[in-house]
Amino acid sequence: MERTTRTIAALALVLSCGVRVSYGEAADLPGGPPPPAAVAGSAARPLPPVPGNLPAWIRNTKTNHIFYRRGRYNFDTYNIGPLAKDLNAVAVGHAMAYEDLVTGKAAGLETRTFARIDRVLKTPPRFMPDEAAISPTFARKYGVLEQVFDWTHILHAQTVDVLASTQLTEAEKDREIERLWKYYFETVPYAVTPLPLNMAYLYSQPYSQAFRKQYPKVNGLFWGYHWLQGTMYDALYRVPLDWQKRVYEVVGERYHKTELYKTDRPFMPMFAEVSPRFASRFPHIANAFDNLHMLHDMVNDILATEWMTQHQRAEQIQRAIWLVSAEAHRDEKPGVSSADRAHDHRHFVGMPGMGMMQGMTPELMWMPEMGWMSMSDCHHCSMPLWEGPDAWRNPTISAGGWAMRVRCALCARDMSAETKGRALLQIPTEDPYRMLVVLSDEQGNLTGSMPGAVFVEMEGSHTGCDEWSRAFTSRAALDAYVKANPRLAGAKALGFDDWAKREGQKPDTYVQPRGSVENPYQPQDAPRK
């Protein structure tokens, strides 16, 4: 026994020395080396105080891994292989950038790190990687932030699993998405708030925009990921699997060729800008994802701000987590304004799934290349969109990286004809669960998902286009509708090919909304008279 004990003691000593050496190497890491040389003119600024009454969970040191909500749809995102792989690569991209930011490699972020991430984006991994293994230093330093990210990413993954499932009906999918939200919201204290937040406020912190200014290419990648993570919802929602795959060919191409490499966005892509149908149906989820993405931006900026100490960074990250947390906004209501902009929960009229943005009002929203618009009106004819429980009746058109809701099938078709490049049209029928999906190629040729689809189109003033332009799953459904609407007596049933060739008049009701300035992200713009 003595010999054994001596052997074990000797080995323990040797091993513990080895461990101490390892510990010693890692002990230099907390805080990490400073980021690259300060840019001229970047002086320290007063930082907002961290609230003194933060809950205990925000400093927890537990691991707290929680498994997916169990369901027959688990991991069905892999039914759409290219999407699943792209999402796997997104996880790698996030993790690599964060790890390099906190381990003294920030100087190479726009070159070496970008190239490394880009290689993974072009050859994405087959399986979802363990982000903590790719960014171990970041996870060790900011473990609670990692918990918030991971937990909301699980909601992302599971909602897409549901949408890609072939075993659930569309009604079951809606119910399961609500259950997933409940699971997300009630299981942990660090859920992100479902309320719309004032994005202009969150993006006007003393450190805001540091990341995008110093690392525009990598910031472009982050916003490209967020574009994909928003766009995929409307691309999949109410779309059968075979067409989900076809739609993702278009979305994926856009993502890889354009969206990942844009460096001129004035702001991160907002969920409702790219998936307005889903955001309208599940505004709480759209808001949570936007708030999560804003948390990403805030953290990026904090880590990229050279005039902050490590301690200040850790504190401001805690504050950022708190600002977007559900607990910070407990008992507050959507749509309600507040003198404290951190608690301003106004949203755009007609779109409860999107918080206020810089220089915008609830009535008017601005988008690059599209200008000012009302989110409650058709973007083709300016007439009011369907609202509330009927909001599913609004068709959408997605092209050029944006998605717009319109009021009728004609508006969708004609708007796609006015758009360059490939487009995706999603046109509701009489059945809320059966959506006609139409793809438009570069030449404007349309291909539909429903061979038996028929249309009524008795063109007149667009004040009534939601009545005289509609799609149906069958001739019988169209006949029943015409019979119930005597004003359409004699309307001809158009097959898909006939409908696709038509072109309507310029809408008699169209009005171009105008905001107070040309571009709210360019403060030098003079106010309009």
């Binding site: 054994t4 323990a12 461990v19 390892s22 691991t63 891994h65 929680i66 498994f67």
Partner: protein, 263 residues
């Protein structure tokens, strides 16, 4: 005609049950998958896993031995999981002259992770197993206690220190009632930054021999865990006793192969 469940049949049943299951993540290290150390991470809350493995051992001056093991794990609360394990074996095995098929002991374990690694503090965990003597020559209930510390080593590597104490109050007169052990494991992702499916493992271990008065055993091992599907991991490794004290049977080389599935 009566149906008798032989050890071989029972093992095959376990194998079939185990095929669709085990730990989801190649980076989450459990003992015997494929080496002998654990990392300090527990299963996720509400996660279940089935882990199946077999190892072929070449004992000195003994017949070839085949040992199987199957384990079911369940994350019953945050940062904790329960496990139940079976270890049937065939042929030569350490500490027993018998070579007949043996159902082996059944273990019931509790694993608790106290904290994640933060700052310079390692992640700590404790694992306790109660072992029921279901084996052919088993004597009395036994227990195993394992303290685990996991820490980042370099940027992507991790070291795992496992401190063991096994006890068997009903041990035979020539066997130790308590024997300690120590394992130092190292893991590192392989293929980074272009591949994210593989983890390499290595270990150095020392444990007291089972017989009273016997020396200790110094062992080494290397292995790989590879994600082969969304929820499953394949593992294989080699272990060898590189130095043994007097009166200890040496396992010259042991090949370990396993498969894990999480659900």
């Amino acid at each position: 005609m009566s149906l008798r469940l032989t050890p071989l049949a029972a093992s095959l049943v376990l194998l079939l049950l185990a095929v669709p299951a085990t730990a989801v993540d190649h980076n989450n290290i459990d003992a015997r998958r494929p080496l002998s150390f654990d990392d300090a991470a527990s299963l996720a809350f509400r996660e279940q896993a089935l882990e199946f493995g077999m190892n072929l051992g070449w004992l000195r001056r003994r017949p070839l031995g085949l040992a199987l093991d199957a384990e079911y794990l369940y994350g019953f609360q945050r940062n904790s999981h329960l496990s139940i394990g079976f270890e049937p074996s065939f042929g030569g095995r350490i500490g027993d002259r018998d070579t007949r098929p043996d159902f082996g002991d059944v273990s019931l374990g509790l694993f608790h992770n106290f904290n994640r690694q933060h700052g310079n503090t390692p992640a700590f965990a404790l694992r306790a197993d109660a072992v029921a003597p279901a084996g052919r020559n088993s004597r009395g209930a036994a227990f195993r206690l394992r303290g685990i510390a996991t820490r980042q080593a370099g940027q992507f590597g991790r070291v795992h220190l496992n401190v063991d104490l096994q006890g068997n109050p009903s041990a035979a007169r020539d066997e130790r009632e308590f024997h300690p052990g120590l394992v130092l494991g190292y893991t590192r992702p392989l293929g980074y930054p272009t591949q994210f499916t593989t983890t390499g493992l290595a270990e150095l271990s020392v444990r007291a021999g089972e017989k009273r008065g016997a020396g200790s055993v110094l062992g080494i091992g290397v292995g790989v865990r590879k994600q082969v599907a969304v929820r499953s991991v394949f593992d294989f490794g080699f272990q060898s006793d590189i130095a043994v004290g007097g009166g200890v049977q040496r396992n010259r080389i042991r090949l370990v192969v396993g498969y894990s599935y999480g659900f």
